[in-house]
């Protein structure tokens, strides 16, 4: 809501500077987004009296005006000729700046006549779109005086963000009420009188078929209007308030709406068939061309204003083109009504049309102010367009006023400010909410425009606003619990810390996927969006890998070649019956292991990913991790595995299929993993237990086994560890060898073994026995031959 301060000043005296007023209003619940000075770009324009207008010697369509600019006479070439001698006009001398003109004016020759500046049209002054005439001032002024001040272009405007529950603040009057409450100044109601309810005009009837959706409809007939410009001051105000001035009839309804908050609609009475008004639901398939020249198909839930034959307006939203007032209109039917807010909201949402009228109706207008608004508009039509009120028809009544009780002790307790009953009453009184003390509390009578106040807490807020939130002290509740993370929340944090500490950057990505990315993991059925924003978010990601791949792609494109990223976030997939939301952790490693000298030039591969999984699993204290079968797309069929914990699959690790890397323009191998966080964290161990650390020296043996190259090293390591039992302190695979002199299809796995127990030094025979046991186990299980000791 844009509130011109000059206009506001008619309703309440404002002694504060605009900046101070804005600050006070913000603290009072009327947040001021910004202070606008619409005519900031205007300077140097003065009032001039036209002395003479004569033909331009060199051009038929131009004329030359001689004007008295106060201190001297000047001549300007003008393109129109609506001004005559004696008229006062805005004159922009060389050096002046205008909002509607880019550069400061200069003296120049126009077809052989020197023009010293220009006379200004309303458009050039930024008042309206009217560029067909020079603005002729209505009021007396001295030539040479500042034109901006004379016309009222010094206006300062507060742009107020009206909170969604405050219907009443969408008007100058509503804002003035709050400013009056805030400053203690009196509220004035200039030019607003009660309705001059004349006799019902002949032939005009109003029938409300759906009183729930239209509790009140007041139709006023105004006859004999003549189209023309509105007074300059009114045009300036409309512009300052953000509405474009058009002509007097339209301007009058808009002016009254901005002033009082009641939307008004003017029908051309001659174009209404009847002439009677019917307020009813739209019939199935009914259509209406609205005044924005769009044909609208109406639904049965839509309320329409109709004449005897057809719909002529969508109630509370927009009028119809056929019955719109035009500059030929003589007689008017002026509508001032109350429509049920939710119905207007539904229709406005369905039509995708939010208008000045609908945004007021869907919050709720003042049911008692209908007649005042109609009277105000009628008075303006009389003053600006010569119309004459010819009676009205009023159907329906405002509902009775609501009362709401408030307990002063409840208000004190919620606000944390001690308030007596009389303080509460006074606080409400400042907001023009009358309240009386009764047994057990205070009963307030809610003004009809405060549709938002329905229960005690609403009044508590009003009391708080009235005394000022600034009075609320700072206290701390006595919390009787220790704060902290749950064990599971701590582990999820540790997961991120482990990966960050291992030299990966955490990333965030959008969980949306375009159509072609949705089937990224074939086994996971994607969820599509019902109302996507664009093609990029057709559905929800079933995996974090596409987001990481895209981030890697961007980094590589920016010459960051060593890319190590991870993300922890929810992923989504269709389930039966319910969709499944699963938190996952994924990492991606590609390019050289290090980027700067003397970093490793080695490229990341699958073992970096498996190593990282082991690092994370160990770091969380989870046990029983294993690598299972090949997972299928998008993984590389020869370089990937399902990750298991205690035999249960929890995710995948490996390199992505070269086809996938190519699709994301990643030149080398792309190693990655993706695990479900839930089971990973659930597998995390208890606090670790101490085991004895031996003070005795280990007995060391290096052994190598030759076996089929297809036997997984992981299985061999596991069997070796098991067979080594409690004597084997450490068994490390240190060499893998294939090729001559070994036969085709065989390979050698070399292990470095340390035997050691906590309580004594092991003897050679003991160790030899155990090495033999290991060798037998590996021979039995894998056909492995012990090669060297």
């Amino acid at each position: 809501m844009r509130v011109p301060l000059g206009w506001l000043g008619e309703f309440v005296t404002v002694a504060l500077a605009p900046e101070d007023l804005a600050e006070r209003m913000t603290m009072h619940g009327l947040p001021v987004d910004r202070i606008v000075r619409p005519w900031e770009g205007l300077s140097g324009v003065v009032v001039a009296r036209v002395l003479e207008v004569r033909d331009h010697p060199g051009a038929d369509r131009l004329c030359v005006a001689r004007v008295d600019a106060g201190s001297e006479e000047r001549e300007v070439v003008v393109g129109v000729r609506n001004m005559g001698s004696g008229d006062l006009v805005p004159y922009a001398p060389p050096g002046a700046t205008l909002p509607g003109v880019d550069a400061p004016l200069e003296r120049r020759e126009i077809r052989g006549v020197a023009s010293e500046g220009m006379l200004c049209s309303p458009k050039e002054l930024g008042i309206s779109g009217d560029h067909d005439r020079i603005l002729v001032l209505e009021d007396a002024a001295d030539p040479g005086s500042d034109a901006a001040a004379t016309i009222g272009l010094g206006e300062v405007v507060l742009d107020i963000e009206v909170l969604a529950n405050r219907a009443d603040l969408l008007s100058i009057l509503g804002v003035a009420r709050e400013v009056a409450a805030m400053t203690g100044e009196d509220l004035r109601l200039p030019g607003i009188s009660a309705s001059e309810a004349g006799p019902a005009p002949i032939g005009v009837t109003v029938e409300v078929a759906d009183p729930d959706r239209c509790p009140r409809y007041l139709a006023t007939v105004v006859r004999g209007v003549t189209a023309g410009s509105s007074p300059l001051r009114a045009q300036v105000r409309l512009t300052a308030a953000g509405m474009r001035p058009r002509w007097n009839v339209v301007d009058a309804t808009n002016y009254a709406m901005l002033e009082l908050g009641q939307p008004l609609h003017a029908f051309d009475l001659d174009r209404l068939a009847g002439p009677g008004i019917v307020v009813r639901r739209a019939s199935p398939g009914e259509r209406l061309v609205t005044l924005d020249d769009v044909e609208r198909r109406l639904a049965e839930d839509d309320l329409v204003i109709a004449d005897r034959e057809r719909a002529v307006a969508v109630a509370g939203v927009i009028g119809g083109a056929d019955t719109e007032v035009s500059e030929e209109t003589r007689d008017i039917l002026l509508e001032a009504a109350v429509f049920e807010p939710r119905g207007v909201f539904r229709t406005s949402r369905r039509l995708g049309l939010r208008t000045e009228a609908s945004m007021r109706f869907d919050r709720g207008v003042d049911p008692e102010a209908v007649a005042e608004a109609a009277a105000r508009a009628t008075a303006l039509l009389a003053e600006w367009a010569g119309g004459k009120g010819a009676g009205s028809v009023d159907v329906g009544e405002p509902p009775g006023r609501r009362t709401v009780a408030i307990r002063p002790e409840r208000a004190s307790a919620l606000l944390g400010v001690e308030l007596t009953a009389s303080e509460v009453r006074e606080a409400l009184g400042r907001l023009r909410i009358p309240a009386r003390e009764e047994a057990g509390g205070i009963v307030a009578e809610i003004p009809p425009y405060r549709v938002d106040v329905t229960r005690e807490v609403d009044l508590v807020e009003e009391v708080g606003r009235s005394v000022g939130y600034g009075l609320v002290p700072s206290t701390l509740p006595g919390i009787r619990q220790a704060g902290g993370l749950s064990p599971e929340q701590r582990l999820r944090r540790r997961l991120a810390d482990l990966l960050a500490g291992a030299g990966l950057w955490e990333t965030y990505s959008f969980p949306f996927a375009a159509d072609e990315d949705l089937p990224f993991v074939p086994g996971r059925e994607p969820i599509r969006m019902a109302n996507p924003i664009s093609a990029d978010d057709a559905g929800l990601q079933t995996s974090l890998l596409p987001g990481l791949l895209r981030a890697a792609q961007r980094n590589v494109a920016q010459r960051t070649t060593s890319v190590r990223l991870f993300e922890i976030a929810a992923t989504f997939r269709a389930g039966h019956p319910d969709p499944v939301e699963e938190e996952r952790v994924a990492a991606l490693l590609t390019g050289p292991v290090g980027q700067e000298w003397p970093a490793e030039r080695r490229e990341h591969d699958v073992l970096d990913a498996t190593g990282l999984v082991e690092h994370v699993v160990d770091g969380l204290g989870a046990a029983g991790m294993g690598l299972g079968e090949v997972p299928g797309p998008p993984w590389h069929p020869g370089r990937s595995a399902v990750v298991t914990i205690a035999g249960e699959p929890i995710g995948e690790v490996g390199e992505l299929h070269p086809r996938v890397s190519r699709r994301f323009d990643l030149p080398g191998r792309v190693a990655a993993f993706e695990l479900r966080v839930g089971p990973l964290v659930a597998a995390a161990g208890e606090a670790p237990r101490y085991r004895d650390i031996s003070r005795f020296p280990p007995v060391h043996r290096d052994v190598a086994f030759v076996l089929d190259a297809s036997v997984p090293a992981g299985d061999v390591r596991a069997a070796l560890a098991e067979a080594g039992g409690d004597l084997l302190d450490r068994g490390v695979l240190f060499d893998v060898f294939e090729g001559a002199p070994l036969p085709q299809g065989k390979r050698s796995l070399a292990f470095s073994l340390d035997f050691r127990v906590p309580d004594r030094t092991l003897t050679d025979p003991e160790v030899e026995d155990r090495v033999r046991a290991i060798a037998e186990r590996l021979r039995g299980e894998f056909g492995a031959e012990l090669r060297a000791g």
Partner: protein
């Protein structure tokens, strides 16, 4: 051996030994000289061994002379060693050097995302005030996201939420705020409740410099006997001081959200200019939180007695805090995964 011979041998041994020690040019040579002069086969040791053949009367005198020669030689070795070691140490600067300004071998760099570290800082500040962490699903129902939070059906407020709906049976949506977790927590737990609620939320926004369809939010919910707006203000003031520094001030003013009444907005004094007013804040205050007293309708919807209990809630956007803290000009940068951006803002949290 007689005493004269013995004295002669000792004299020679002393002279030769000292000469060899003093001319040793390396620690190795010194060790050899030491062995030659003081070892088991050295002339002095030989004299010592043959003391038995010397007249009883001369023995003490010769014995003393043996010890004296030993001591002199040992002292000479020690002195020479100190000298040689000093020489070697002086040398190491020339013989074993490297340009230490070559790049060090760092472990691969990595770190938490700035939104993670900012979120943790916010959450931890509330934890230190006694709060626990409550979480909930991102795929929510209309009931938890709107109805239970006192958004009436067909109310304009729903329009402003611009909600994303998945195409699945049922009334699911992508939550537009973390507030549904308020309802879930109040359903699951009896008061007193003091929880902080972090989480990812969604809005049907086209990305630009200040809007994203995805954002991180954090809320608090406190429900207990006798809580007031003053408790809310004090709590958020304590939080702001933990977050931004001990001189922080806060101010509250009326604001509107369907799930709180009275509703409040909360500004913190600008932590960039100390509240004097700057390009970022304008008037010294930064608009940071939406807050208020829990609306009684929420208590009614979750079976908590609104006459016995009252509560407050407050929420803020993490991206906005991170942008202010780090001076990030464009919100989209948080979601692009550019390592050049991430490494700038890395913090160990």
């Amino acid at each position: 051996m007689n005493d004269v011979q013995a004295m002669e041998r000792l004299g020679e041994a002393r002279g030769q030994g000292l000469a060899a020690i003093e001319t040793a040019s390396s620690l190795e040579e010194l060790r050899a000289a030491e062995v030659a002069a003081l070892g088991r086969r050295s002339p002095v040791a030989e004299v010592q061994r043959s003391l038995g053949t010397i007249d009883l009367a001369d023995r003490p005198r010769i014995g003393r002379e043996v010890n004296r020669v030993f001591e002199d030689l040992r002292a000479a070795v020690a002195a020479r060693r100190v000298a040689l070691e000093a020489e070697a140490e002086a040398d190491v600067a020339l013989t074993d050097r490297i340009d230490v300004t070559l790049p060090g071998r760092r472990p691969p760099p990595g770190g938490l995302h700035p939104l993670t570290s900012t979120m943790r800082a916010v959450v931890d500040a509330f934890i230190s005030l006694g709060y626990r962490v409550s979480e909930g699903p991102e795929l929510e129902t209309e009931w938890y996201n709107f109805d239970a939070l006192n958004f009436p059906p067909d109310h304009p407020a729903r329009l402003t939420q611009d909600t994303l709906y998945p195409d699945v049976p049922g009334d699911l949506l992508l939550r537009t705020h973390t507030s549904p977790v308020q309802i879930r927590t109040m359903e699951a737990q009896e008061p007193p409740i003091y929880v902080v609620i972090p989480g990812r939320c969604f809005r049907r926004d086209t990305p630009d410099a200040t809007h994203l369809p995805v954002f991180q939010q954090v809320e608090i919910l406190a429900v207990d006997e006798g809580l007031s707006l003053a408790d809310m203000k004090g709590t958020l003031e304590a939080w702001a001081r933990a977050m931004f520094g001990p001189d922080q001030r806060v101010r509250i003013y009326p604001d509107y959200f369907p799930f709180v009444e009275p509703g409040a907005g909360l500004d913190v004094s600008c932590f960039l200019c100390g509240g004097r007013g700057c390009r970022v804040c304008g008037n010294g205050w930064i608009e940071l939180l939406g807050a208020g007293m829990v609306h009684p309708a929420l208590f009614e919807n979750t079976g908590i007695d609104p006459e016995r209990y009252s509560g407050f809630a407050a929420g803020l956007g993490i991206e906005r805090v991170a942008m202010l803290l780090h001076g990030v000009p464009d919100i989209r940068m948080f979601y692009e995964g550019d390592v050049r951006f991430l490494s700038q803002l890395a913090r160990s949290a």
